[in-house]
């Protein structure tokens, strides 16, 4: 790759962000609507939020719940998905359950969970857990199902027990697919995090956002949207680096650009 092509690739996301902000600024100046602050106004509000101790505690509480929900979901979903992919009986048992849960927006379950568990951390973490689980289960399941039979046979011939084959062959072989699911799960974790805080208004980034909305502080609302968006981008970028490192062995060797130049 030439260095100029590399530069373009690096600069592209930055340019896209700047472009978006410019469009926003122009649009809000043109519309002159109170509930649509300018980009500059929103950006100015960011330091106020991040400088405020109360807000920071809220945001950190959100991140903590998200991490816990995501982590627990991954820990449960990967083994479950792998087992389902390799055992028809396990798949037959869980598939109908998952089919029922799949189309239900997890936030819709929140009122019931709130009734049972209150409006605290447990409820919100549980909702995040549910939101993350399904894509991770699904991708782990598909990944495990696609593992080449002869690879497992080779392992069996070397003396690996069924459990060892699951952990030492199915897991690594399905890892690219699993991580694709986790990446989707990470974004969903962020979404469910905000949604849960919108429903159970008590703490968190979502809480700041919707309080500001109630009070008509539109700069703050949009600043929070930017902050949450930036959090999403950063988390995704970090995850993508980890992922790329873990599955370097599987990345396509030659990419075939649909080059127009």
């Amino acid at each position: 790759m030439t260095s100029s092509a590399g530069m373009t690739k690096r600069a592209a996301p930055v340019l896209a962000c700047i472009g978006l902000l410019v469009v926003w600024q122009v649009a809000s100046l043109a519309l002159k609507n109170d509930s649509f602050p300018t980009a500059i106004g929103a950006i100015r509000a960011i330091p106020d939020i991040l400088g405020d101790k109360e807000s920071l505690i809220n945001i950190l509480a959100s991140l903590r719940r998200m991490t816990m929900g995501f982590g627990a979901a991954v820990l449960v979903s990967i083994p479950l998905g792998l087992l389902m992919g390799r055992s028809a009986a396990v798949a037959a048992f869980f598939n109908p359950l998952l089919m029922v849960i799949y189309p239900v927006p997890k936030a819709a379950l929140m009122p019931i969970i709130m009734l049972w568990l209150g409006v605290g951390d447990i409820t919100k973490t549980l909702v995040i857990f549910l939101g993350v689980s399904l894509p991770v289960i699904y991708h782990s399941f598909e990944g495990a199902k696609a593992v080449e039979e002869k690879m497992l046979w080779s392992g069996a011939a070397m003396g690996l027990s069924p459990m060892q084959r699951l952990v030492r062959i199915v897991l690594p072989a399905a890892l690219p697919e699993i991580l694709t699911g986790c990446r989707t799960g990470l974004v969903l974790a962020l979404i469910t995090m905000i949604t849960s805080e919108m429903i159970a208004r008590q703490s968190g980034a979502g809480n700041i956002l919707f309080n500001a909305l109630d009070m008509g502080q539109y700069d703050t609302v949009f600043a929070m949207i930017i902050i949450v968006g930036a959090m999403g981008i950063c988390l995704d970028a970090i995850f993508e680096r980890v992922r790329a490192r873990l599955v370097r062995w599987s990345e396509p060797q030659f990419d075939m650009p649909l080059s127009f130049s």
Binding site: E148, K150, M151, W153, A157, L160, I169, A173
Partner: protein, 324 residues
């Protein structure tokens, strides 16, 4: 760009005759040479001209020398199209220790299925396969498969793949690594230890698959058309290499192939199968001297006669057989 086009790079071991001393030396390090290795050519003794008859061999030297016994094995598959599909019908076969036995037959006659049964990956519908007198109940490190699909572990490097078996058997990392490096050199892949499978050509992957299986010292090698997917040149080279390795090590080999030349060139016995249902049609002893050299053998009239005879039988079975 690290991937080379075909087979090995310039620093790799040469093949053919010059290879002998090299792989010999390496093998001597790796596998204690078998004292009986260069001895008798007894190979396998029984064979039933018709698979349903179980003929006791005249020259049998006692049951101890048969390492694998396949006794009236049948395999019926439930298929969606036809109700029951008889893939193997009443197969009986004895394979003597240290014999190189090829299974030859038309596509779909059940060669792979037979190999999988011996490997313990598939259990037969009826009949039994035995290894050293014990019924085969599942896979085990005494029988090492080399699949046509390679089935390498893509997340492991060449070295990681080859070390996998020894590590599983509890050999210390340093020792396993040393052995594996020697094996990788033996199959002509020195310098590629840290490559991932996706960075290798088909022929190179096949070599890794062979090394990976040899690394855990199975008593029986089960090879399913290992060279089927390769170009003619690589194929010839790997045949030579396999023969060199085998003539020193003398493991028992069960080798599935489509190629008559390959079967005659490599084997002590050729088991010819016919199709629909899969049966053993004939077993032919290949009485050619070892060590075999390709260039000598191709000129040998006995070799040519084997090939021609077997090819003729092949054609007959094609004519008589039910269409695929």
């Amino acid at each position: 760009m690290r991937v080379r086009q075909n087979g090995r790079g310039s620093n790799d071991a040469p093949h053919g005759c010059e290879n002998d001393s090299l792989s010999g030396r390496l093998l001597a390090k790796l596998v204690p040479l078998n004292p009986r290795a260069s001895g008798t050519e007894d190979g396998m003794t029984v064979l039933s001209a018709r698979s349903s008859e179980w003929v006791r061999p005249v020259t049998q030297q006692g049951p101890a020398s048969a390492i694998i016994e396949i006794d009236r094995v049948s395999q019926v598959f439930q298929t969606s199209a036809r109700k029951d599909h008889v893939a193997l019908s009443d197969i009986s076969l004895r394979i003597e220790e240290r014999a190189f036995v090829s299974i030859l037959g038309p596509s779909g006659c059940g060669k792979s299925t037979l190999l999988y049964i011996v490997g313990g990956f598939v259990s037969p519908t009826s009949g039994a396969a035995k290894m050293k007198g014990q019924a085969i109940k599942g896979p085990g490190p005494d029988r090492g498969p080399v699949f046509q699909e390679f089935a390498l572990f893509p997340w492991k490097t060449v070295l990681g793949n080859v070390m996998y078996g020894p590590r599983q058997q509890g050999i210390r990392a340093a020792e396993a690594e040393a052995q594996s490096r020697a094996l990788i050199e033996m199959v002509g892949l020195k310098g590629y230890e840290n490559f991932y499978p996706k960075e290798l050509s088909g022929g190179m992957k096949q070599r890794v698959a062979l090394a990976r299986t040899l690394a855990y010292h199975p008593e029986v090698l089960l090879m399913d058309e290992p060279f089927g997917a390769l170009d003619a040149h690589t194929r010839t080279r790997l045949q030579n290499d396999l023969l060199n390795i085998w003539e020193r090590d003398r493991k028992t080999v069960l080798f599935v192939t489509h190629s008559v030349d390959e079967a005659v060139f490599l084997s002590d016995k050729v088991v010819m199968m016919s199709k629909s249902p899969g049966r053993i049609r004939q077993v032919i002893d290949i009485d050619l001297p070892r060590p075999r050299r390709r260039n000598e053998l191709l000129l040998d009239t006995r070799y040519q006669k084997y090939v021609v005879d077997i090819e003729r039988m092949f054609d007959e079975s094609d004519d008589g057989g039910v269409p695929a």
